[in-house]
Point group: C2
């Protein structure tokens, strides 16, 4: 499984095993679906309310061949044939795509006939398949088998279909979707409804779509397949990805990774709050599927957003403009009015976007262009724009700390022609910039259009501008991270085919380079007393038993043992709960406790996790996850995603966490799971941040059931 | 101060004292500003680039008298006079409003002349006043004095002005603002730029404004004044309030409170992240001004939003519809497509909106209207809408748990005429509903307009619908809380005019009804040993000294003392750090630690605060604040705003916090500060939640410097 995560596109052993997938990773496989030469509507109807008739209306603008198939209503002159084979014979173009408008019970048979007549792709919009339960499950199985037998790329069932405006191809049951203009954004939506909603919003935003597809039951064509198809699609400049659930995590991650090298992907993952409820009812489960899906998409290079409006803003920006890969791009903010700028800067700061102070040179240049009392350090506020706005843009853009210029202005035709100012600034060497423009529609609509023609994303207000800038920055950061990535060598350690006790688990951590306190595993009381004599300072004395994972809960941990009497009291108590072996360690110095670990996500495979220790952090579910393998730098940065990250930076006189050591430890845990499929999970709880470095105070390693003898 | 918070509108002693304010609370005072009969532009100009000429263009559509004043360019036939007095004599209408387009240095003189000629209101858009520093400070002081001397309501300076579309009155330096249509929303913005941006966005959203005003330096007319004016304004059905800083908290809170009884107010407060940085650099300051401003506005009845787009969505909903006051309205979600519905429901859950399961009766009725395999429990998903959608709406609306219906649909003219379905559902008794409609603009624009004519808020997508529904729910909850409010009697206790030691502070808590452990204040070692004999279980022995507020930090706390030897060791150590008095208490049972307190916000006066105890919670700044006085129910509910609230509800086998007792304790602390102006703040840290109830383990009370002898 984990190996396939690095392969482009593609299928996984697991997915094949469960019979859901077939060949993959072929960037041309969906050409017959999205670029057919001829189309057959199977189940054509003259009843305008029937799906067959609605589909024919949707397809009426398609410039290639569109034929109907209905054995009970044949009229070749009107393009209605008894079979796909008949239609194919009569058609000037090969019939590549079949649109099935027949009941679920007969769809497999219809698809088989189509396949035999040379059809290579099919769309099934109607429901009545697995989502309906009962006989629908069998209908879906038969449909998938028919598609596989004939090498047909099958979209659906239970979806709204797709549209390709540049080809005047509207293959959805909503004919009005044909009105969505062609544009640079591809929509890849889990849901047919969301696909239409996004396509219409992109139309309303004057952006348009290159392709918009709803996946529905996704029995064959998945999001990963469509993303793989888009790698070679010259018309798509940004992808809006909507995710509900993921059948095959590594395939999706690989497809996003391959695509984002060329085209930015913005992802909206549904289920934050369902999942949070689930997490609350399962207090042990700090990492959740929603969180993991987001982490995996982000690691693969996608930009994450929180709702469909942010999705539109982000692709509006990224379809016009992409920054070069940078670890942390700096944004220069230039505004014509201070109030909206404050809203924008407040939002950018909340999203962790760097707004660097301008250099002395830039400030002096700005000071020559603006009246003395405006704010000039970044954000740069003109108070009110006037002549010289173009030079201001060029000056701020030229600052070495500024990778992107963000501009807000209200349209004031008397004071500022923003498109002209941008064009002039460009001529003077200004770099990438993004704009939000407020004002009356009759003024701002043509100005936004003019700006877009210049390749400048044009939004409508501070909030949209904030999302757009953040998306550009996140995309640049994602590619900046990628340049740090190097293959991780396998970690080969000896792991018994059973759960490890704390001593064994800590020995294994030692092999991974993760520090642990000195310790003695004691088979009897005499050994414990020897350990007391040998080890420094007050001691911790613990039950040593691989079958007990929550030692504290059963009274299996005694702290602050200083002498023989104290040790005997502790050993008595431990024997009282059935202990036969003991672990003796010096007490650790105080510090900040983390939980770190690696586990095996059922969808995405190995992931690493870091969170703050303690019950408060647990109640807040303040954890960050990332898919493994990952490098130590990315792993160390994971801690910066924690809400309580201030605790790792010397909060209230506490220790400062060594991010390099933390990153190495997390990366090593991830490598361990990648290299050892027999390990189910490993958790260090706590990993203490001390003034002298990290120290793993307890560790649990679980071997998967199937790996046990 | 606190008394004025309950007065309608108005001024405060503090504000008068600092010379910033004057008469207030008069709902008619701004009539000459926003409803003038005649207007004089002082500093009229024929140079089209000059402010005087731009203003004249803006005002050109005003149907009343508009005259110019310019002593150097007099032409009475063209409406240009040498003075306001001359203009007033010649004008058929009284000149109520002067728009000053003269340099700051001469504006006070111009305003004085205008006042003497009978002008009752003035607008000063230009800058060069206090915000510019230097001589501008004096110009502003003179301007304010002139306004006060002549009873002139002065808007500005340093603002974009205002517009009243129903009166064709555009008093801004952006003539295009005259294109913003009349509508039901009043914009009250701290910033002139934000005022214009919001007005244009409301125009673009096809909502329009009743009044849109930018306050600028707000030297006379404040947000509180405009809100007070709107109480009697029949055309305003919702208010969009933008807040940057608050000069007079109680006046603002009182104005919001008075207005929200009749008209909903939605507030956007800037400064979350600036303030968060401030809070991080001052680790002791968990409560922040941004947080307090939001809490005060919310307590006064405003609905809070996070950006200007949410502001537009919220007033779109609230200007069309207001729910009756309800403690927690239930929302029924009916959708035509499942995917967008999931996005919407995910968003509503994240905002804590109740989506109750339908009753058995409603479910049976729904089951008769829908195919069997759709989701029918709430949300109710039709899969795809068809005939009977109107009956579905009426049925779900009739469920006793449903106070508001939220509907998402894609426009499908073949399948659904949503305005007709809504009208029919209304006829069948359906209650309040809000709609989002996606689709091609040529279909959805007229449908959204038709829905608005029916009084139904119509949004454009799931995200906007989520914000709209949340706003309707929050507004209903705010008025639901209000019905619980009763006057709080004063709390009169004896407080020495100095800081209290822990024993005295705990005695005072006892008077407030807040439980504390049994304790002995010991003036010598013998007393401590008597306490050891008298008190049960292991003891805590602490330094007792009012001058030491962080006892633990100096080694002033010894825990788990069980015997005379242990006590002597602890007393030795305490004497070693200079202790002469000791506090001896039994150790408290384990539990969850809270920090609760009350302090005096410099803007809003007494506030109460609750947060989780411990360094993790502190690093996360997980606290909730509310203005005092407040009732125990509202105070208890404050704990539900904490991110870590799960810890108060038996998390991981922990205790369940008694919300009634917690609310009473918080309310009592608030009452204490309201009744005792000499107390600066009081903090209980920790207030422990135990299985046996709350227990205040430490308390600090600080008396204000000015109250000390």
């Amino acid at each position: 499984m984990s190996g396939s995560a690095s392969a482009r596109g593609g299928h996984s052993g697991l997915a094949d095993a469960v019979g859901e997938r077939r060949r993959g990773g072929d960037v041309r496989r969906l050409d017959p679906l999205f670029g057919p030469r001829g189309i057959a509507v199977i189940g054509a109807s003259r009843d305008p309310g029937k799906l067959g008739a609605v589909m024919a209306r949707s397809l009426s603008r398609f410039p290639g061949t569109v034929v109907g198939v209905n054995s009970r209503d044949v009229d070749p002159a009107a393009g209605r044939f008894a079979s796909v084979a008949d239609a194919a014979t009569a058609s000037p173009d090969p019939i590549d795509l079949a649109v099935l408008c027949v009941p679920a019970a007969v769809s497999a048979q219809a698809l088989t006939e189509a396949g035999e007549a040379g059809v290579r792709a099919a769309l099934v919009c109607s429901g009545g398949y697995a989502e309906a339960g009962g006989p629908g499950v069998g209908h879906q199985r038969d449909l998938v088998a028919a598609a596989r037998d004939h090498g047909i790329a099958l979209l659906g069932p239970n979806t709204s279909g797709f549209l390709v405006p540049t080809r005047s191809l509207t293959a959805t049951f909503v004919p009005a979707a044909g009105a969505v203009p062609a544009g640079p954004v591809a929509v890849v939506a889990a849901s047919g409804g969301v696909n239409h909603a996004l396509a219409f919003l992109l139309g309303e935003a004057d952006i348009g779509v290159s392709l918009a597809v709803g996946l529905g039951n996704a029995v064959d064509v998945t999001a990963a397949d469509v993303l793989t198809h888009l790698v070679d699609d010259g018309t798509t400049r940004a992808v809006a990805l909507h995710v509900e659930s993921v059948p095959d995590g590594p395939a999706l991650a690989a497809a996003v990774r391959a695509l984002t090298a060329r085209v930015p992907v913005v992802a909206l993952v549904v289920g934050r709050n369902d999942v949070a409820e689930f997490a609350r009812s399962h207090t042990g489960a700090l990492a959740t599927s929603w969180r993991t899906t987001r982490a995996a998409l982000r690691a693969a290079g996608a930009v994450l957003v929180d709702d469909e409006r942010e999705l539109i803003d982000a692709v509006t920006a990224l379809s016009a403009l992409r920054l070069p890969p940078v670890a942390d791009p700096g944004v220069g903010v230039v505004t014509a009015q201070a109030g909206p700028a404050l809203l924008h800067v407040d939002g950018l700061r909340g999203r962790g976007v760097a707004i660097p102070q301008l250099t002395e040179d830039a400030r002096m240049a700005v000071a020559e262009l603006l009246p003395p009392l405006t704010y000039q350090a970044n954000p740069v506020d003109t108070g009110r724009p006037g002549p010289g706005f173009d030079r201001l843009l060029a000056t701020v853009s030229a600052d070495p700390g500024v990778d992107l210029l963000s501009v807000y202005a209200l349209a004031e035709p008397d004071a500022l022609d923003l498109p002209a100012a941008v064009e002039s600034a460009r001529a003077a060497g200004a770099g990438p910039l993004v704009v939000a423009l407020g004002g009356p529609p009759e003024q701002v609509t043509p100005q936004r259009q003019a700006l877009r023609k210049l390749g400048v994303p044009a939004l409508d207000g501070p909030a949209a501008l904030t999302v757009a800038v953040s998306a550009l920055v996140e995309d640049a950061r994602a590619r900046g991270r990628r340049s740090d990535e190097a293959p991780r060598p396998p970690v080969l350690v000896s792991v018994p085919r059973r759960d490890l006790d704390e001593d064994e688990a800590k020995a294994l951590l030692g092999e991974l380079g993760i520090p642990t306190p000195p310790r003695r595993a004691c088979a009897d009381r005499a050994a414990a007393h020897r350990a007391l004599a040998e080890l420094p300072g007050p001691l911790a004395v613990k039950l040593l038993d691989a079958t007990v994972t929550h030692k504290s809960d059963v009274g299996g941990v005694h702290l602050g043992i200083r002498d023989a009497a104290g040790l005997d009291a502790a050993l008595d108590a431990l024997e009282g709960i059935g202990a036969t072996r003991f672990l003796v360690e010096p007490m650790a110095p105080p510090g900040v406790d983390l939980i770190v670990g690696a586990s095996r996500d059922p969808v995405f495979g190995p992931i690493v996790l870091v969170g703050l220790g303690g019950v408060v952090a647990e109640a807040l579910a303040d954890v960050a996850v990332a898919p493994a393998p990952l490098g130590p730098e990315a792993a160390g940065a994971l801690a910066d995603e924690l809400s309580g990250r201030a605790l790792l930076d010397g909060f209230r006189g506490g220790p400062v966490a060594d991010r390099t050591a933390l990153g190495s430890a997390l990366a090593a845990l991830g490598d361990l799971l990648v290299s050892h499929p027999e390990i189910e999970d490993v958790e260090i709880n706590p990993l203490r941040v001390t003034a002298d470095g990290l120290l793993a105070l307890d560790a649990v390693l679980t071997v998967g059931e199937e790996a046990r003898p």
